[in-house]
């Protein structure tokens, strides 16, 4: 590996990327394993596509522009084709569903977990590489497939120990389309207005009814004085839209009844309401109550491609934000039905529905609730008192490992014994094993209980620890058993 330049390279993670160490890796793995177990039980099969896709397959060319859309990391290969890192797991699924359509079972039910990449401005907590964890059913137009996604999400939260602190909200784009129709916003020439309306509805939690009303009408000036142009709806039109976003009632049945009023004669709207009703009935039959899954017309989901039911999972417990104010933890997963994605490739309608879990946010939630498994204790450290007897120390460590105990011999420069104990401390080691010349001659080893030692160091009085020594000397033959006893305490 030639350096090429005299100047030394900077040792830096690229801007917007980060490294994950130790428990950060194992905790995420434990969570993904638990989620995969639920996906598996529901009959979904794993799929792992490559990180790299053709930009063409990702659909990231803007009209009339011959460079990839911003938002992806892209480059040209030797044949001048543009390649890019995937920015989600849905676009690769659409490509796979089209590419292997003659070989895959239909419906094709797959889960996928792995990193995705976004070429966006990084910010605090916003990285350019992050994990997603998706499950989708491709090739089923049945609302049973949508209901199942919601049930599965619920099971996932329960299995992660989040029972009682989550809610899965279900809405339907068709109902929204019906409302647009009733409000006179369904024409092809009204696309800009519909976009503004969608974005306005999506902000109801943050802006409240009044803020949304302003955005539906002439526009809204925010606290900083910035003005956002509104959709220019009349008061009557705005009333219909607001009516939709506030249609949620105490029970699913009451919400359904209210939505039916709102969509009036719109055929698409009525279809959407019927679908929501079916989903609610299917979930009811399986015992998923409205404490876990509920109809909520306030849920819009940003992405343009949803065509039917949409889902959003929120965690309802409170955390303190960066300014010390309590707020709900909020959304950790979202999804819905998107019947147009595979059609891009094949020209044929292929209905599909699915969910994407925001892995980093969900993991942060588990940590906040003390539910993140996978953190592990450091290794037992066998210290080196006499570097010529490395073979003895390695034999000890070998015996410990044989017994399934995580252990290692100190491999740094053994000269300074204090450094060895500092190392054990930094590794979170529970036990240090020591054998100097005296112990060797006596056929013994010394075991230092570092967990207890740390407690004693913290404690004001030694009184409570006096009958439990932080250090014992045992025959070398008892090494494994004695360490096991110390670890079991």
């Amino acid at each position: 590996m030639s350096e090429g330049k005299i100047r030394r390279p900077r040792a830096e993670t690229p801007k917007g990327f980060r490294d994950y160490f130790g428990a950060e890796v194992t905790e995420r793995k434990a969570m993904l394993d638990a989620i995969a177990a639920v996906y598996h039980r529901y009959g979904f099969d794993p799929l792992e596509t490559s990180a790299v896709e053709t930009v063409e397959a990702l659909g990231k060319f803007l009209p009339d522009v011959d460079r990839p859309n911003e938002g992806v990391f892209a480059w040209q290969d030797e044949d001048k084709d543009w390649l890019a890192l995937r920015y989600d797991l849905t676009a690769p699924l659409a490509r796979v569903a089209a590419q292997y359509r003659n070989d895959l079972p239909s419906p094709y039910r797959r889960y996928a977990m792995g990193p995705v990449w976004r070429n966006e401005k990084p910010g605090p907590g916003r990285f350019r590489q992050f994990y997603q964890c998706d499950a989708d059913t491709v090739g089923s137009g049945s609302v049973a497939a949508d209901a199942e996604i919601c049930a599965m999400l619920s099971d996932i939260f329960e299995s992660l120990g989040l029972a009682g602190v989550y809610v899965i909200k279900v809405n339907n784009r068709k109902v929204l389309n019906g409302v647009m129709e009733v409000a006179g916003l369904s024409g092809d020439d009204k696309e800009a207005e519909r976009g503004i309306v969608l974005r306005a509805i999506d902000k109801i939690d943050r802006l409240g009814e009044e803020g949304v009303r302003a955005l539906l009408g002439a526009g809204r000036k925010d606290e900083s004085g910035d003005f956002t142009k509104g959709a220019g709806l009349s008061d009557e039109q705005a009333e219909v839209v607001i009516g939709f976003t506030t249609a949620k009632r105490e029970t699913g049945a009451a919400t359904i009844a209210r939505l039916r009023e709102l969509v009036g004669n719109s055929a698409i709207g009525a279809e959407g309401v019927t679908e929501l009703e079916s989903i609610a009935a299917l979930l009811q039959a399986q015992g998923y109550g409205s404490d876990r899954i509920q109809l909520d017309p306030g849920v819009v989901r940003g992405l343009g491609y949803y065509t039917g039911p949409v889902f959003e999972a929120e965690l309802t417990f409170q955390i303190t934000d960066e300014k010390g104010r309590p707020r709900n933890f909020g959304s950790v997963a979202g999804g819905g039905r998107y019947d147009g994605l595979v059609k891009r490739f094949t020209g044929q309608d292929v209905p599909a529905t699915g969910i994407s879990i925001g892995v980093d946010r969900l993991l942060a939630a588990l940590r906040a609730k003390g539910r993140a498994g996978g953190a592990t204790e450091g290794p037992v450290v066998v210290t080196v008192m006499d570097r010529d007897r490395m073979a003895d120390y390695m034999a000890m460590v070998g015996a410990l490992r044989q017994a399934g105990i995580r252990a290692e011999v100190y491999l740094g420069n053994p000269k300074n014994f204090g450094n060895q104990l500092k190392y054990a401390d930094k590794r979170g080691s529970p036990v240090a094993v020591i054998q100097g010349g005296n112990e060797k001659a006596a056929g013994t080893v010394i075991l230092k209980d570092l967990v207890l030692g740390a407690k004693i160091a913290e404690s004001a009085t030694l009184e409570e620890w006096k009958d439990r020594p932080a250090q014992v000397e045992v025959p070398e033959a008892d090494l494994v058993a004695a360490v096991q006893r110390m670890l079991a305490k």
Copy 2:
């Protein structure tokens, strides 16, 4: 997601990349989990770096060239810095060890597993994205760290069920350097010759002693008539090099003795021999016999950056190659000591040693030996006889899942019942559940044993199956218990 163009995108994996389905994913995961368990037991902590690195950190600039070296996928970010996908897990480790040197424990012991990317010509079985699985100790110059890597590799093979069909070979670059010195090839002006010698030695398995001799001398013409220029060594020089590659003896001690003769007065050579001797002694003390780990001066390892002990793990069982000839399965892991990598960043010497396992090759080996775990049975499929009773079917599937049984309701168009059974077949489903109007009225369900059904279909005579019906009708309340009985058979 706008299409932008009328022409439909091609649904294709980019050239040289591939998708992994179902068992391909779970088998690899099971293997990596087993390897991670051993790494963990040895005290290594996980590290997951981002897939993207600065090209500068990767060291992939050629001297006097301002574009990244071929071999990596690279692009310029908005600040015109070059970024690239990592091509291995060692370069990112060197960057991490330098970047976090004040925070990490020293020695820093980490394992890493994940995809790496090579911008190379793809070929059969040669992909541009593949998995590696590494463990390294950074900050230890002790040969105990090298010995440990070998012991750990051995434990990994044993834990994967490959006892008796692998061997780990150990050599030392310093011995080779000593041999170069004895052969008069140690000067700075001899770098080209040393390169040719290294590559020649690396080919001894394939070309035999005579072929290597030709490459050490004037050169070699291969079967196709192509000529490879040799190192131009004299017969005496070639003799020394050949002596080294053929220095392996029956026992480690005899090999050591022979190597000591060969390196003569070379100080670096003598140091290398002593290191090999220490490694052998440490492994001996832990009970790793020469049937598992052996000294083998034939091992060179391609990469230029190794500075001390080098390791190579080979699987010794035979497979048939594409032409039907038996051959040894061969190398599945390699590594060694590389004391210069971190120095690139910091200017300070940081000794390091480690191993990289070729995940795809090792997985292929496990499959060849029938040792790949993680393959899973398809889901129980609840068929849909009456689409208006979807809630009933979903309740059944819910009950099965509650009992931990992998199950799903058929979500495609239920019109054609044959398609439902074909689907169950394609999914490798063990049991199909059927409830039509008659069964509903009778309060029963029909269970079709698809595993047994397939056996009966294959069998010439029904005689042997006659007392074991492939289909039973049970009360609906017994659904879960009856499916469990069928799965347990």
